[in-house]
């Protein structure tokens, strides 16, 4: 590192610091690791998205005329597993988290750079295991419920082991971020001056750290059940299949927040910049992230109201579920209030942010139906749940992910993308998404169960409509992808701060130099000092 001191005042973008594939795979630069994650998760997003299009195509008609029911079952298992474990859990957290956390807090890198690339290797190891699992892909659904997952003759062991490895990648990333945020903040960067994305990442990291090991041991027990004959979940041996669900959701409900909280953080960054207003209710948004994280450990059984858990437990969990709605509602109100008397510029990142608020509000409100005991009995395991979770996951997380992509793209890659094309793509995605998933609420209320390869005739018109919508959505995402990739090659050079943000990452060149800051900045104000102080 000695030559660094010599090169101190020569600006070299981090992208050009070292070349060659090997240097990428062995890098400890958080920005490059962020790109590795970004490319990997985007790849898996497109794969799983394509699988989703195949599924929707099969569902165009009531009968299984495109693929057989077994293939359909494999498809939705792969779609769910890849989307959840390979895209959306590491998605925003690991890619943008890696890129932004050190830059935003004024640090040269994360606390443990070697551990950071190690996490990525684990992620790759997980994907390799998945590839082998594809030889005889599981047909259990991404939830791996026992006893089905213990009995099916597909390769559940490899698949769950892959997820287990990914879990450790996620844990180590979370660990790294927590320590980074605690120990690496620049002088003057107090907790209450931190960008809200940092608060969100911190809450997410705690969930990653402490919820993931539980799913790890759960999947390990499932593997032991299949290989050693251990019977914790096998009623024939005195075990309890519902216990698997308890353990599984102890992780997988917090996992929902691992997915959505970083997106909330992104929205909290984008809106003030494009409204030129300080974020409304900073502390409420910051602490509500932590609040959501904590309560989310205690709501897991709302996935299980019809599973045969006790009524007492169901009642308690329903109540706690309603509690988690409160901090979420607070955030939505605060974002909306930030717009008041702003100077609002509807560029593509802002469009995604507004799209997020609109769609996530629908996703959140429909969650109330599923948290309410009597209503959930009717709606559980129907398309209503499918629609709800896609409104939260696509309408929320993916919108946040796309918003982040467009917002930080100039900073990360030093290029500007075509704004008009980006807006067209946004419009198609927004419309296509709603056409795909809004009808599914009605399907669910009418009683269409999920995970059905074939379905009764009466659901045909809405199911077909949903399939048509998926085509629009697919085209929108395709245009967006092409637009962003094309910009890498022929985009204009991005200025240092095209959107006029006050956050630290915009105060360094685009793309940032390898060491981020020539001198560690001294922070004197919070991140959201927009507008005229009176």
């Amino acid at each position: 590192m000695a030559n660094n001191t010599i090169a101190e005042h020569v600006y070299v973008p981090f992208l050009e610091e070292k070349k060659g594939i090997l240097s990428w795979l062995t890098t400890t630069d958080h920005k490059k690791i962020g790109i590795l994650y970004l490319v990997s998760v985007s790849f898996f997003f497109l794969i799983a998205g394509t699988i989703a299009l195949l599924m929707r195509f099969e569902l165009l008609t009531p009968e299984a005329d495109f693929v057989s029911p077994h293939v359909y079952n494999v498809l939705f298992t792969l779609h769910g597993s890849i989307m959840v474990f390979f895209f959306i859990v590491p998605g925003l957290a690991a890619s943008f988290g890696n890129f932004l956390i050190p830059l935003m807090i004024g640090a040269p890198d994360v606390a443990f750079p070697k551990l950071n690339i190690g996490s990525y290797w684990l992620y790759i190891l997980g994907t390799i295991i998945l590839l082998f699992a594809l030889l005889k892909p599981a047909d259990t659904g991404w939830t791996f419920y026992t006893p089905y997952s213990a009995n099916t003759d597909t390769d559940v062991v490899l698949m769950t082991f892959g997820v287990f490895v990914l879990g450790f990648s996620s844990i180590l990333t979370g660990l790294n971020f927590i320590v980074t945020i605690h120990k690496m903040r620049a002088p003057g960067m107090t907790w209450h001056r931190l960008p809200l994305f940092i608060w969100a990442s911190y809450a997410t990291a705690i969930l990653q750290l402490l919820a993931t090991p539980v799913v790890g041991i759960t999947l390990l027990l499932l593997i032991a059940e299949r290989t050693l004959g251990v019977g914790f979940f096998d009623p024939a041996k005195g075990g309890d299949p519902v216990l698997f669900q308890n353990f599984f959701w102890f992780y997988s409900h917090p996992a929902v927040y691992i997915m959505i909280i970083p997106a909330m953080g992104v929205i909290s960054e984008i809106i003030p910049v494009f409204a030129r207003k300080p974020i409304f209710g900073y502390k409420a948004i910051a602490y509500s992230s932590l609040g959501i994280a904590f309560i989310s450990f205690l709501v897991w059984a709302h996935h299980m109201f019809t599973s045969g858990i006790s009524e007492v437990a169901a009642t308690i969990f329903s109540f706690l579920t309603f509690l988690v709605a409160i901090p979420t509602a607070i955030k939505v109100f605060n974002w909306t209030a930030t717009l008041y008397k702003g100077s609002i510029q509807l560029q593509s990142p802002m469009l995604y942010a507004l799209g997020f608020i609109f769609l996530f509000t629908i996703g959140g409100l429909t969650g109330l139906f599923l948290g309410a005991l009597a209503a959930d009995i009717h709606l559980h395991d129907t398309y209503f749940v499918v629609a709800h979770m896609h409104y939260v996951m696509i309408g929320g997380t993916v919108m946040g992910f796309f918003g982040a992509l467009h917002f930080w793209y100039p900073k990360w890659f030093g290029k500007m993308f075509n704004e008009t094309v980006a807006k067209v793509a946004w419009f198609l995605i927004f419309v296509g998404f709603n056409v795909t998933f809004f009808p599914q609420f009605f399907l669910g209320v009418e009683g269409m169960p999920r995970r059905y390869a074939t379905y009764p005739q009466e659901f045909k018109s809405l199911m077909s409509l949903s399939t048509y919508g998926s085509w629009i959505l697919g085209v929108g995402i395709l245009i967006m992808t092409v637009n962003l990739i094309a910009a890498l090659f022929n985009g204009e050079k991005a200025p240092q701060n095209p959107y006029g943000s006050l956050s630290l990452e915009w105060q360094v060149p685009s793309p940032p130099p390898h060491e981020n800051f020539h001198e560690i900045p001294h922070v004197t104000d919070w991140t959201y000092g927009y507008g005229k102080k009176s």
Binding site: P108, I171, K183, L209, A211, V214, I217, G231, F232, E515
Partner: protein
């Protein structure tokens, strides 16, 4: 360890940073065992007779011996850490060696125990109790082996003189890990051997 690129973190800060990271990792480990502890709690309350009946199959003396071995090794580990902080490399090496040997002794006792179980045709699928026994002790054994591997590396590095009173972080982190392994055994022993 190059913690940062242009800007070297000051050693004290780097030390506390690494330790915080280790503690977070220990939290993860606790939750990893947590699932098994939860399963234990549930099945024990569900089938108290089975647990009472079958825990008698376990060799309490061997369990007790292993508890002593691990607590003793925890002590030597702690002495080793204190020694390196005072720059006594030789003492540290000896203490690390003893700790590692204790780890192997523990594994040896466990090997004999497992062998005895198998010869009585007791396997992980024999009953819920033995499922728990094998899963808990098996996962713990895995941690013992990882611990031995870490401490062996530390031993080699100490003998090469990599550590001194100014820089001893890896030894301390390895020590923390080893203590956690001990800590978990402290619970496993009564849960499995004593109160069944």
């Amino acid at each position: 360890m190059d913690h940062s690129h242009g800007h070297q973190m000051d050693p004290g800060e780097a030390y506390s940073t690494s330790k915080l990271g280790m503690w977070l990792f220990l939290g993860t480990e606790i939750m990893l065992f947590g699932g098994l502890f939860a399963a234990y709690a549930i099945f024990r309350s569900k089938y108290p007779e089975m647990f009472l009946e079958q825990h008698r199959e376990l060799n309490r003396e061997m369990g007790a011996i292993n508890t002593c071995i691990l607590i003793f090794s925890s002590m030597t580990m702690a002495i080793g850490v204190t020694a390196i902080q005072r720059g006594k490399q030789k003492l540290t090496s000896i203490m690390l060696l003893i700790t590692i040997l204790c780890g192997f002794a523990f594994a040896g006792v466990k090997y004999v125990e497992y062998g005895a179980k198998f010869s009585h045709h007791i396997y992980p699928d024999t009953s819920i109790f033995f499922s728990l026994y094998f899963m808990l002790t098996g996962l713990h054994m895995l941690h013992v082996f990882i611990g031995i591997a870490i401490l062996s590396t530390m031993l080699v590095l100490t003998m090469k003189g990599k550590f001194n009173q100014k820089y001893s972080t890896p030894v301390e982190l390895g020590g923390l890990y080893w203590h956690l392994v001990d800590l978990i055994w402290i619970y496993l022993f009564p849960l499995l051997y004593l109160i069944g």
